[in-house]
C-alpha cells in the first residue's frame, strides 16, 4: 500500500473490500477460495495473521459451510462476513435462503462471474442476479471506491434495527476485483463511530429459544409478510445511511439510484455494476455532440427502487437497458424489471444483452447502440455478440 497523501491510496477491488472488512471489525469470517474472489480471502488471512484484524477465520470445506459457519456465529451475536463468486454462490444458495429467512445480519461480497457450463472464470452478472429472491438486500458497486464504501454501508444497513436483513454486495470479477484504482479510505476512528460494535444475541441460556424451528402455514406466511415489510422499509434506511456516509467521507453517495445527465434527457441508459463507467463515458461523448442522453445507475437491486426509477425517468422517451445476464426463455433480467417498474408509463424499453461470460464491452458499444436509437432504429432486444 503506497499512500501518496493522507487517506488516499490505490488498491485492487479485492483488497479494498478486505480493507473495509478489517475496519468493520467482524468477529468471525468464513470464506472459501474461488476465482476471482480468492485474493480477498488471502488478504483477510494476512490481516488476521498479523493481528491487524482480531477475528476468527473459519477455513471450511466449501461455500455451503462458509455461509453456515458465519450464520452460526451471527446467531450468537458476532458481526460476520463472507465472500464468494459464481459456482460458490450457487453452492451456498440453500444457506442464503436460510440466512435471509431467519433474517440474520451479515455481509457477503460477491465477485461476479459467469456460470458453468461451459467452464469460465470471466465476469458477468448471471450469478448475482440469480439470487434476487433470497430475501437479501443486493447492492452493486461501480468501481473500487464504490466497493469499499458500499461494504462499510452494507454492515450498517444490515444491522439497522429497522432492517435486520443480510446484504450482498456485488462487484465485477477481475474488472474490479483485480484492477488497481485510486482509493480514498476512512480512518479507523471514523469507521468505528459510523459502525459501532454489534449488539445482538439470540442465545440466552436463561431464556432459551428455538432458532429457526418449524412454522405452520399461518405463522409462516406472517413471518414472510414481515420480511417483505422489512425489505420495503429498508429503502429509506439505505438512503439515510448513504447520506450519513456522504457526510463522514465527503464523497457523493447516491442511495438507491444515481442519475447522470437525466434531467433533460430523451433517452437514458440503465445499468448496474462496473460497466456503468463505460456508459458514463458514452453519455459524456454524446452530450459533447449535443445529444440529449443520460444514465440511470441502479445502486441497489433488492429492494428494487421502483419509486426512484419512476421519478428519474419522468419525461424520458425511452430507455436502453444493459444486461450482463439473461433469463433464458424470457429476456434480460434488468430489462424486464425496469419494464415492470415503469409499466403503463409509455416509455420505450430497449434491451441490450452484452458482456456475457466476460465478452469485452467498451464505451464505444454504448455509444453506437445509442446512436442507432437516436436515428430511430429501435429494437426490443439486441445481443452484442458479433
Amino acid at each position: 500500500m503506497i499512500t501518496v497523501q493522507k487517506n488516499v491510496t490505490a488498491m485492487v477491488g479485492n483488497h479494498a473490500v478486505a480493507y473495509a472488512v478489517k475496519q468493520a471489525k467482524p468477529q468471525v469470517l468464513s470464506v472459501f477460495p474461488i476465482t476471482p474472489q480468492t485474493t480477498m480471502l488471502e488478504k483477510l488471512a494476512e490481516y488476521i495473521d498479523s493481528g491487524e484484524l482480531k477475528a476468527e477465520l473459519i477455513k471450511v470445506e466449501g461455500e455451503h459451510s462458509a455461509l453456515a459457519a458465519v450464520y452460526g456465529a451471527a446467531v450468537a451475536g458476532a458481526r460476520v462476513f463472507t465472500a464468494t463468486s459464481s459456482q460458490g454462490l450457487l453452492y451456498m444458495t440453500e444457506m442464503m435462503y436460510w440466512v435471509g429467512g431467519e433474517r440474520v445480519p451479515m455481509v457477503n461480497a460477491v465477485a461476479t462471474r459467469a456460470l458453468a457450463e461451459p467452464w469460465t472464470i470471466w465476469d458477468d452478472h448471471e450469478d448475482f442476479f440469480s439470487k434476487r429472491d433470497t430475501s437479501w438486500i443486493m447492492m452493486m458497486a461501480e468501481n473500487v471506491q464504490d466497493a469499499y464504501d458500499m461494504t462499510l454501508q452494507a454492515f450498517k444497513i444490515s444491522e439497522d434495527k429497522r432492517v435486520i436483513l443480510p446484504v450482498m454486495m456485488g462487484f465485477d470479477g477481475f474488472i474490479l476485483t483485480h484492477t488497481m484504482e485510486r482509493l480514498e479510505i476512512l480512518d479507523d476512528e471514523t469507521v468505528e463511530k459510523f459502525l459501532p460494535p454489534r449488539e445482538f444475541n439470540l442465545i440466552d441460556f436463561n431464556d432459551p429459544v428455538n432458532v429457526g424451528p418449524i412454522a405452520v402455514p399461518d405463522d409462516y406466511m406472517r413471518i414472510k409478510y414481515e420480511a417483505m415489510k422489512a425489505m420495503e422499509g429498508s429503502k429509506e434506511v439505505i438512503e439515510e445511511i448513504s447520506r450519513e456516509y456522504e457526510k463522514i467521507s465527503g464523497r457523493k453517495q447516491y442511495g438507491l439510484v444515481e442519475c447522470y445527465e437525466c434531467e433533460d434527457a430523451d433517452y437514458v441508459f440503465v445499468t448496474a455494476g462496473a460497466w456503468t463507467g463505460d456508459a458514463r463515458e458514452a453519455v459524456r461523448r454524446l452530450r459533447n455532440e449535443g445529444k440529449k442522453v443520460g444514465l440511470l445507475k441502479l445502486r441497489v437491486i433488492r429492494p428494487f427502487p421502483k419509486e426512484r426509477i419512476r421519478e428519474a425517468l419522468k419525461g424520458v422517451q425511452g430507455v436502453v437497458t444493459f444486461d450482463r445476464e439473461y433469463s433464458y426463455g424470457y429476456g434480460g433480467i434488468l430489462a424486464n424489471e425496469i419494464k415492470s417498474a415503469i409499466y403503463n408509463s409509455g416509455i420505450d424499453v430497449m434491451s441490450v444483452i452484452a458482456g456475457i461470460g466476460g465478452k469485452d464491452v467498451r464505451p464505444l458499444h454504448f455509444q453506437k447502440v445509442m446512436e442507432d436509437v437516436l436515428e430511430g432504429k429501435k429494437f426490443e432486444e439486441r445481443w452484442l455478440n458479433d
Partner: protein
C-alpha cells in the same frame, strides 16, 4: 378414571426433566430420552444444533419447545458448520457454553458428511452426537448409507444390498480427541461417555444406535430390548477412543470372545425390516459382524 399417583398429589418431582415430555416423538422413540440423558450431563449452558431430521419435528414449532436449552435449527447438510461458527463466537465472548450437534444418520453420514469431516479435520470445539436410526425416518423410511445389509426400507423393498457405512471407525480415523459408540439400552455407559466428552477440547463424536419402532418394524414396547440385542449380538459394539486409544466398554468387553456373542438372528427376528432376509443373507451378515470383531480385536491389541 385412573387414580392420581401419590408423588403427583404431593407435587414431588421424582427426577428433573431436561428434555420435556409431551413432545412430538412417536411411541417408543428413544430420541427424547436420549436427549434428556444428554442434557442432564451437559447442563444448562448447552446449545443444540439440529439439522433436518425427526428431531426437527420433536423440537416443536415457533410457539414452544420441549428443550430446556437453546436450539439452533440447521439445513440438512450444515449442522457441523453452524456449530463451528457458534462455538467460535461463544468462545470469543468468553462464554464457557458447550455446542452440541444432535443429528441423524442421514445428516451425518450422507448429505452432511463433508461438513462433519471438515469440522472434525479443523478440530472444532463441538460435541457431535449422531443418533442413528439407520434410515431417513422423518421422510418415511428411505435407505441411508447407514442402513444395514438386508434391511427393508421404502427404497430397498427387497432389502439393502450394501453394508452399513462404518461411521464411528471413519471418525476415529480423523484422529479427533474423542470418539464413542453408545446405546439407549445402556444409559449409564452413554452418560459416562458424554461426561468424558463434555470437557474434552476439540471435536468429539458420539454415535448412538437409536432403534425406530415404525421404521424397523417392531412393537413400540421393545425399543430397549432391540437396542440391547444389537449390543449383545455384537452388531453394535460399545467402545470409546480417547486420543487414539481404543477401548471396549461395558458388556462389549466380554464380547471380544466370539462364543459370548449371541447369533445375529436373535436381533434380526424381532424386526420386520429383516423379515425378507434369506439364510444366505443372514450368513453374510454374521460373517460381516465377525469380521468387524476381528478388526476390533486388532484395535484392542494395538
Amino acid at each position: 378414571m385412573t387414580e392420581v399417583p401419590q408423588y403427583i398429589k404431593e407435587k414431588k418431582v421424582i427426577r428433573q426433566q431436561y428434555f420435556l415430555r409431551g413432545n412430538a416423538a412417536c411411541p417408543g422413540c428413544p430420541i427424547p430420552k436420549e436427549l434428556d440423558l444428554l442434557l442432564e450431563v451437559m447442563g444448562k449452558k448447552t446449545v443444540l444444533v439440529v439439522p433436518a431430521s425427526c428431531s426437527t419435528v420433536i423440537m416443536g414449532d415457533i410457539h414452544g419447545s420441549p428443550s430446556t436449552v437453546p436450539v439452533v435449527h440447521s439445513a440438512f447438510a450444515a449442522a457441523a458448520a453452524i456449530a463451528s461458527g457458534l462455538s467460535r463466537e461463544l468462545k470469543i465472548k468468553g462464554d464457557d457454553a458447550k455446542v452440541v450437534v444432535w443429528a441423524g444418520d442421514g445428516a451425518t453420514g450422507d448429505i452432511g458428511f463433508a461438513t462433519v469431516s471438515g469440522a472434525a479435520e479443523r478440530n472444532e470445539d463441538i460435541l457431535y452426537v449422531c443418533y442413528d436410526n439407520e434410515a431417513f425416518m422423518n421422510t418415511g423410511i428411505q435407505r441411508s448409507s447407514l442402513t444395514p445389509y438386508g434391511a427393508w426400507t421404502t427404497t430397498t423393498p427387497a432389502g439393502k444390498r450394501e453394508f452399513k457405512k462404518p461411521l464411528p471407525f471413519i471418525m476415529m480415523d480423523h484422529k479427533i480427541p474423542y470418539v464413542a459408540t453408545a446405546s439407549i439400552a445402556y444409559p449409564f455407559d452413554y452418560q459416562a461417555k458424554v461426561r468424558k466428552a463434555k470437557d474434552v477440547q476439540g471435536f468429539r463424536y458420539v454415535h448412538l444406535l437409536s432403534p425406530c419402532p415404525p421404521g424397523w418394524r417392531f412393537d413400540s414396547s421393545l425399543t430397549i430390548e432391540v437396542a440391547k440385542l444389537a449390543v449383545e449380538t455384537g452388531i453394535w459394539p460399545l467402545f470409546e477412543v480417547i486420543n487414539g486409544e481404543f477401548n471396549l466398554t461395558g458388556i462389549s468387553k466380554v464380547l471380544i470372545d466370539k462364543s459370548k456373542r449371541k447369533p445375529v438372528t436373535e436381533y434380526l427376528k424381532l424386526q420386520g425390516r429383516f423379515s425378507k432376509m434369506s439364510e444366505n443373507d443372514i450368513k453374510i451378515m454374521q460373517n460381516a459382524v465377525d469380521a468387524m470383531w476381528d478388526y476390533i480385536t486388532e484395535l484392542v491389541k494395538r
